[in-house]
Amino acid sequence: MEKMSGARSLMVALEKEGANIVFGLPGGANLPIYDELYKSNIRHILVRHEQSASHMADGFGRVSRRPGVCFATSGPGATNIVTGIATAQADSSPMIAVTGQVPTKMIGRDAFQESDIIGISNPIVKYAFQPMTVAEIPEVVKKAFYISSTGRPGPVLIDIPKDVQQNEAEVTFPSEVKIRGYHPWVDPDIREIERSIDMLLASERPVILAGGGVIISGAFAELQSIAEMLMIPVVTTFKGKGSFPENHPLSLGPIGMHGHAEANKIMVEADCVLACGSRFSDRSVGTFEEFEKNLKIIHMDVDPAEIGKNQTTHIAIVGDIKASLRIMVKMLIQKAIKREGDNPWLKRVNETREYFRQNLKLHSHPLGAAKVLRKLRETLPSQSIVTTEVGQHQMWASLFFDVIHPGTFFSSTGLGTMGWGFPAAIGAKAARPDVPVVDIAGEGSFNMTENSLAVSVLDDLPVIVFLLNNFSLGMVAQWQRTFYDRRMIGIDLKNCPDYVKLAESYGAQGIRAQSIDEIGKAVQTALKSNIATVIDIPIDPQEDVLPFVAPGTSLKDMILPS
């Protein structure tokens, strides 16, 4: 038992959970917390907008695979992080958001800067706490980290009224917590794994579909072993991009709306799929009914509610992906099961890949997306971490930027949050200062959180913004060209601002690169200089992202470049 204030107990509890950095912005209702932050060893990153704090915590969480922490004050501070919380929830990212709240006596009286963040955030958090006494705080923090980081990870909100931050009380810090309605550890059913192996071996055209769950659980080695032992081609979801090295002979890349042509083609032809940590989102599989036709689905997921949600499964294995795949690897070794690569299906897979490699028409512009992103790949060390914004550039990154080192590619795939990539890259840099971090960006998306340049510069978290600038909201423009008979509205961003000057005004480095050669040089300069750098690359506003599976259609209806 120790006597201390609520704010102090929060800080001690955070330190006990290993949190050494928080992203946030102070305000009236969380000043007691900041006063304790002043006295603690936790590093504070001052953001320019709370939304960025939540994205930074998200980026930090995805890369370090432990919850990133963000702070915001009550009212508008709290509502500003709602987008970040929703983004983390949609992509199962571990995050702890701590908001200040008006004093308990003022709650419900429409006080200044009061918002019902518990009510507002309910559908988009994994859980939310509102401790009403100081004594609750240590246990609440412990539970928050436990809930956020176990099972299917997600954001947890802790909303602390100002008087609860200020009051003093005797507190104890539990070393363990139990929550009777929460059972994140489920042992995968061994018999079902055995049946899966039989089903995969009995099938003629098996495919592995690797989702975000592989990255979250870090099951890269297990996935690769299984693919190699059974010689099964691997496609991924967009969230699962980079769960399997994209230069591996069995890799086909992401499926989906803007998936690789060969991945979509092979997915449609498959007769059995081992889906690992994928939720069969509409963007990945197209129409649900068409996808499951003539396909045997083995679904591994840590979240039982995902089983059968969008697709009918033949075998369901509930449990951590890494644990499930590890059991499968052991079984394959024990039974000495191996499949030869010399079979008609793999031949078909290789031919399909080769066909599209030879025949897929790429945009002819000298700064076509494929050329630009392949140059980035060529210049960037393979262990570098890459995030993306949301839009055309994101889908081009999916198509043309191969992830070599597993678990180094992150994007807002579920919610599709514009403005995510740059702050998330800063959070990633905080988690991994030893590797280069690049945000593959479009200017429309970058505009939304570009003021984080101040953070990247002042807090010594240098990231590279690789800006594919088409002077417009490119994805919307593409849809207006494709589905709205070229009635272009609300997409023209003009050439504003000048991103080189913008970067410079923040004390960052701005480089305009107007040829593939200049791009290579600019990336090298950025890598060497170790200061925040924006590389502004003027691309062709007319380039579409292709292939394209139109919404409401199936993967087999993929539109190819003509």
Partner: protein, 163 residues
């Protein structure tokens, strides 16, 4: 076709909101809900009836189970459960003989009669939805002025495999 879901939850503020918000956000409908404290004051039991197809129902149960504040979620089998609803019905009285007739019907349905007045009578019926509907049909001719229903309340029969 309606189904009955019995949910044991943490008895604390906001849990009812979370459960109903889950139904709303995933576009499921609640036909009725009744909530009350259990033998252990730390828990409340919610009995929810919903009209959903089999696939939806399995999702509802899984999503409820996933909620951290739910301790146990059971889809009740009608044959293996006892389920009742309490309904208060205010019925119009036009002539003195109506009172006698309605009281007779009420007795036949084991209902309690309350608050007999010159122009209205209140009947309390606790029964399964089928019986409540049957009673409602019989008294509809007199004119039903107001109805209040509690929503279904249900328990599984027996303990463990006994049911």
């Amino acid at each position: 076709m309606w189904s009955i879901i019995s949910v044991l939850v943490e008895n604390k503020p906001g849990v009812l909101f979370k459960v109903t918000n889950l139904f709303r956000s995933r576009n499921y409908n609640i036909d009725s809900i009744s909530v009350g404290i259990t033998e252990n004051p730390e828990f409340s039991r919610m009995t929810i009836t919903t009209s959903a197809d089999e696939k939806q129902l399995s999702q509802i149960v899984k999503q409820l189970d996933k909620m951290i504040d739910t301790v146990e979620v059971k889809l009740l089998d009608e044959k293996k459960s006892i389920y009742r609803e309490l309904v208060l019905m205010k019925i119009k009285i036009l002539k003195p003989s109506d009172v006698m007739e309605i009281t007779d019907l009420a007795n036949a349905f084991k209902c309690n009669v309350h608050d007999v007045r010159r122009s209205s009578i209140v009947v309390e019926i606790t029964a399964t939805p089928d019986r409540i509907n049957a009673f409602e049909d019989l008294v509809r001719g007199y004119g039903i002025l107001e109805i209040a229903r509690t929503g279904m309340c249900a328990l599984e029969r027996g303990v463990g495999n006994e049911s």
